[in-house]
Symmetry: C2
Subunit: 218 residues, 2 copies
Amino acid sequence: MTTKGARTQTRNKEETQRRISEAAAAEFSHLGYSGATLDRISERAGCSKALVIRYFGTKQDLYRTVLNTKYAELSQRETFHALSEAETVSELLRGILSDLFAFNREHPAFARLVSWENLNGAEHLDPATAKAARGPGWARLRSILEDAQEKGMVRGDVDVGRIVYVLQALTVVYFSNRHTMKILTGIPFESPETMSSFVGFYSQLLARGIATDEGKCA
Amino acid sequence: MTTKGARTQTRNKEETQRRISEAAAAEFSHLGYSGATLDRISERAGCSKALVIRYFGTKQDLYRTVLNTKYAELSQRETFHALSEAETVSELLRGILSDLFAFNREHPAFARLVSWENLNGAEHLDPATAKAARGPGWARLRSILEDAQEKGMVRGDVDVGRIVYVLQALTVVYFSNRHTMKILTGIPFESPETMSSFVGFYSQLLARGIATDEGKCA
DNA sequence: GTCATAAGTAACCGAACGGTTACTTGTCAG
DNA sequence: CTGACAAGTAACCGTTCGGTTACTTATGAC
């Protein structure tokens, strides 16, 4: 009998690789590239350090794998794809912002990895993988936005890049700069209500901010 | 004759301490706490490692000194204090945002240190020092904002913390997440025009977003 | 001059790092 | 049963880390 499809008792390559990958993600997210150690990763994974290197190459190789895997997770979630059905600008803004917040809440490691990565110039991030993480909601946003501009409801100086930027900024800072930001503003980021009220407040603010006088007062 | 006020030829405590402090700021900003090494810092400063430890204590002590010194620099700049004379909401928003961007452009090390610090829980940042970095522009913002709300020009759900948050978010992400954000949005952050157009666009967007219909259309 | 003192350094320590090598052992086709 | 191969490990290597110790040397008051 072959091993194929069966769960071997003590020795299992795929399962071990999965455990290593998981342990590495936790370690890199927590301590960054230079702070993480292969000794701790192998300890977390419950195997020897030599095995980690055998399966994933050098520390840098392992880091690259972890980072791009996390980005790929973002692009595969279902709620993201549901956004392609949105009808109005404000509805879509709220949907995207809400989804960005939800993803970051469910994957606390993600924002941390992005921060670490920016601090060393994003040289380990595969551009194609990162672009895929935008999801179909953004293509939808572009078409709806341009449509609203033609009808004179949205101001002409608004473009998709700037909207995406502010949505990302609001989200990223919430999760990766909460410590200094709490000292600065006093906002209780750990409170669940803060997050939902943030989404509502800022999506409305953005919708009003990009609208023409006609689009808003008429 | 005493050393007081004179520039000694080869041995000079204050000057050496200044060089060490400068070298440490560059090193910590570039590589973070765990990535930085005392050997490199002493090499940059042109002195021995033992002297670094003698003057600043442990690596952690040195890091704390560097971090809080940078924050103190923010609170001492002149343009920040000029904001206390602003008259209108939109004028003040533009002033604060413009100044935040200017400071970060002039002090690239600052945003990096803030990112590193958030990644290890902001445990080395002195809260009093951080709060002082808000400057008088924010107290002015509160009073002008509340005044405008009483007159019915600004919506009631707007508060200073949320405005400060979005201003900081727009700025912080511009400087500390530019690498991943460029891949994501295609925005050319390195271009000088991008920054000034950002300040104009978002301060206008915010001003319109927080205004009541009356405050905007009337 | 000279001498106490402070500025500054070379050499070293144990620990921890990333990575390699030589080895053991579970598993399965025949 | 058995042997070959893959899964997995213990022990080690050279290097670098933060930090200490014992030492040199420039400086200024007397």
